[in-house]
Every structure is written in structure tokens, then in C-alpha cells.
Point group: C2
Chain length 223, copies 2
DNA sequence: ATACATATTTAGGCTTGTCTAAAAATATAT
DNA sequence: ATATATTTTTAGACAAGCCTAAATATGTAT
């Protein structure tokens, strides 16, 4: 079995691989794990010896199949627990992450699949992220950052790229939730802020940082 | 915060204190924790320094209020999770213990109380053990080991004093469940086995070891 | 190509929790 | 009361994860 620390590293590498499609750097992992680069190097050596990752000094890291499998299982558990916390225990979407961060490490074959069934086999977690099924399969919706839309384009909010409480609370306060429809009215180059119309009503100005962290998909109902 | 190891030690000491009402010995803890006596000594020193226990070399251990509080909180979580696993996820009573052993260490103030509410504030866990409430209060029913009943006395099974899978599976196979009514028909001194009648029907011979580990309460309906 | 800046690894140490083997204290039997 | 057995503690070591400081490799600008 793997320690929960190893699981967290593999999960971090998995997430980072998805973004920067080449090898993942030591410093990127260190930042994500909120630890020091030297600690990361130690762990990379270990994970490499155990056959979870491909690691060559100074060259970054890629996951081996075995490592990817572990990461996906942990992510599955994380997201299922998030659904549980939201739908059954009335947690809000900014409260669930840190608890799920612990629950994802509980080991019991039966537990995960029973939980999945109990929740009705949900396809996405409360942040809009897809939940892998028992076999590790899940479909990515074609998503794009709000920042990359052009003026006049319409889209639906399907996920967030940042889980911090502050960010999630901010979104709630401006009534921007998963499923909200938005239209880009204007983009301002000097500070990269964007003016949007939400659900055909309110107009809101979003900062560069916010736009970067909102995942949307193009709205099919463009009429 | 306390590590999950510290929590497990405090829980073990709490359980053992309940039985042998004097100080708990190093070896008793070692046996319960499935570890070596020297490891226990190390931990006792630490728990003592932190103010959780009263520890004097060679003299055994008692819990301080602070230690008792921690133990009761962990026990509350353990038993609530056991109820969850049984009633919501269809685990059987022999499968729940080892998973609960992990879940009991999840730290979130909100989680425990939400779970309690979600489950409908259960009073006992699937093994018949009482669940402490938010404030750590719980009532012990007057219980006695089946072994201590006299011939002719009637009782109801309310708990088990041993959580091993083997034992629980054995009880299921002979259809002896929580709430079963039993009457002592005969006691055999040479091997301390006991002949009982279950629910007014089957007659079963129980070994000494089994009788020692069944908690019963006298049946009020004696007519 | 060289010099400087940044990223990464190595060296050495610390904490937690575990172990074995040996020493010391306590309990038991005659 | 003394010898023996058992329990408990101490001493010393190890693995996992983490850290700081120093060494080394890589990237960049001129
Ligand atoms: Mn985690
Ligand atoms: Mn999520
Ligand atoms: Mn435990
Ligand atoms: Mn129980």
C-alpha cells in the first residue's frame, strides 16, 4: 500500500501533467504541495524506485501507468466524498475540499463503490470536475478558460481551476455558480479584465485572476 | 492537534480503564495496540508530557480529563461511522470495524455533527455499543456477560465484547444477533460451556470463550 | 562564449513512531 | 528471605517525511 503522502504527490503530478503537457518540474510540485523542492526530490526518487513515475535528474517527471492509476483512484474518492458532503451533509462548496483531502486516503475497496452507488453514480463533483468511474474512465468536456473567449461569445460555467475558500466565496457573493450562462461584453487589455453579462441580466467586471480560473464550455444555445 | 496514533493510544487506554478499574498496564496497551511494550513506554511518556494521562514509571496509567475527552470524541466518531456504513452503505457488522478505525481520525468539527444529524442521532452502534453525544455524554445500560447468568435466567443480547470478524461471522452463522432473547438451560463447569435456548426456539451450546464475549441485559419480560 | 540567475539536487539533521536487546524493577514461589 | 520469573524501561537503531544550507546543473542575456 501507499502512504497518504505518496498518494498526494501522485495526485499533484497527475493534475500538473494535465496542464503543462511535457514533464512536470520539481518546483511546480513543490508549489502545489506547499513543501520545499528538496523534499520533492526525495519523494521523486522513492516514487521512481517504486515504479510509479519516470524520473531523470533535472529533467522533470512523468507518470507511469501504475502511478496514473493510483492518482485517478484517489481523485475518484476525493470527488465522491465531495459530493457526499454537499448533497448529504449540507456542506457548502467552499467547505468540502479540505475534508475530502483527508477522506480520499481511506482504503477500502468496498467503501468507494458503495459510496458511488449510494450517491447515484454522480458524473461531476460540486466544482464541476468529472468523477472517474470504477474503472478509472471519465470524460472531459471540452473546456476553456473564460479568459480565452472573444467579445460576443457565450458560454456556461462548468468548473473552477482553483479551490481556495476565498475564491469560491467570492464567486458565491457575485452569484456566479456552476451552470451560470455568461456573455463576454468587453475585454480590457490594459489589466486583462473582462466585462460579462450573467444569465442575460447583471453585468459584472471580472479581474484577470478570476477569468483565468473559470472553466467554461461554449454555449450550444447561441440563438 | 493529535496524531491518529496518539488518538488510538488514548482510545485503547480508555477502553482498558473501563474494564480493569485500576491503572492500565503497559503490556495491556501493547497487546491491544498490537505493538511492543517499549513502543508503548515511549508513547506514554509523550502523552504524559502533553497532559493527557497520569503516568508514573512501573505504575500503570490513568487518563486525565483531557485524555478522556479526546478518547470519547474518537469513539463517538468511530461508532457514528459504523452506523453510516451499516445503514447507508449496506456493510455487514463484521466489515465495518476496520474502515471505522480509519474514518475515526478525520478531523472536522462540522463533519461529525452533520453525520450525527444525517443518521438521525443514533444511540447505539451496530455492535450494541452506546454512541456519545456532542457533549460526550452517553448512558451505559446495565450489562453483564452471558457467562455470569445463572441457570434459568433470561436475557437479551445487547452487545459484543470482541470485534473480530471471525467472532462476528460465527454469531451470524448461528443466528445470534443483537436483540436475540436467550434463556440459560444449563451450565457445564468442566469446560465452562453453556446451553441456551434462543428466541424460545433453537437450543445452542456456547463455548466458554463465546459466553465471555457476549454482553446481555436481563430480560424484563420474564413471564 | 561568458557571466549571471534560476532550478535542482545533495548533504546533513530533525521528529514521529517503530523495533530489538539489554538493564532494571516488580512479582511470585519456595 | 532469596531465587526466579515476569514486566517495564532504557539504549541504540531505523524508515518516512520534512527542513536548511551548500553544491551543481541548466537557462538567459549580452
Ligand atoms: Mn490528501
Ligand atoms: Mn472538487
Ligand atoms: Mn484508529
Ligand atoms: Mn462498534
Amino acid at each position: 500500500m501507499n502512504s497518504s503522502t505518496e498518494e498526494d504527490y501522485l495526485k499533484a503530478i497527475y493534475m500538473l501533467s494535465a496542464q503543462h503537457s511535457s514533464g512536470v518540474s520539481t518546483s511546480a510540485i513543490a508549489e502545489r504541495m506547499e513543501t520545499k523542492a528538496s523534499s520533492v526530490t526525495d519523494m521523486l526518487k522513492k516514487l521512481s524506485e517504486k515504479g510509479f513515475i519516470n524520473y531523470v535528474k533535472y529533467q522533470g517527471v512523468t507518470l507511469q501507468q501504475k502511478g496514473s492509476d493510483v492518482a485517478i483512484k484517489v481523485i475518484r474518492k476525493h470527488r465522491l466524498w465531495e459530493v457526499f458532503l454537499c448533497t448529504k451533509l449540507n456542506f457548502t462548496w467552499d467547505e468540502i475540499h479540505e475534508v475530502a483531502e483527508q477522506l480520499e486516503h481511506i482504503t477500502s475497496v468496498k467503501l468507494v463503490d458503495s459510496l458511488d452507488q449510494f450517491l447515484g453514480y454522480p458524473k461531476v463533483d460540486p466544482h464541476g470536475d468529472p468523477i472517474p468511474d470504477k474503472n478509472g474512465n471519465f470524460h472531459k468536456i471540452k473546456e476553456v478558460a473564460l479568459r480565452d473567449l472573444k467579445v460576443g461569445e457565450k458560454a456556461v460555467l462548468i468548473g473552477v481551476r482553483e479551490d481556495s475558500r476565498e475564491f469560491l466565496k467570492y464567486l458565491e457573493s457575485i452569484k456566479l455558480l456552476l451552470g451560470s450562462k455568461m456573455e463576454v461584453l468587453n475585454k480590457f487589455e490594459f489589466d486583462e479584465s473582462v466585462l460579462i453579462k450573467v444569465n442575460g441580466g447583471n453585468e459584472i467586471m471580472l479581474s484577470s485572476l478570476v477569468c483565468k480560473n473559470l472553466s467554461v464550455t461554449y454555449d450550444k444555445n447561441k440563438k
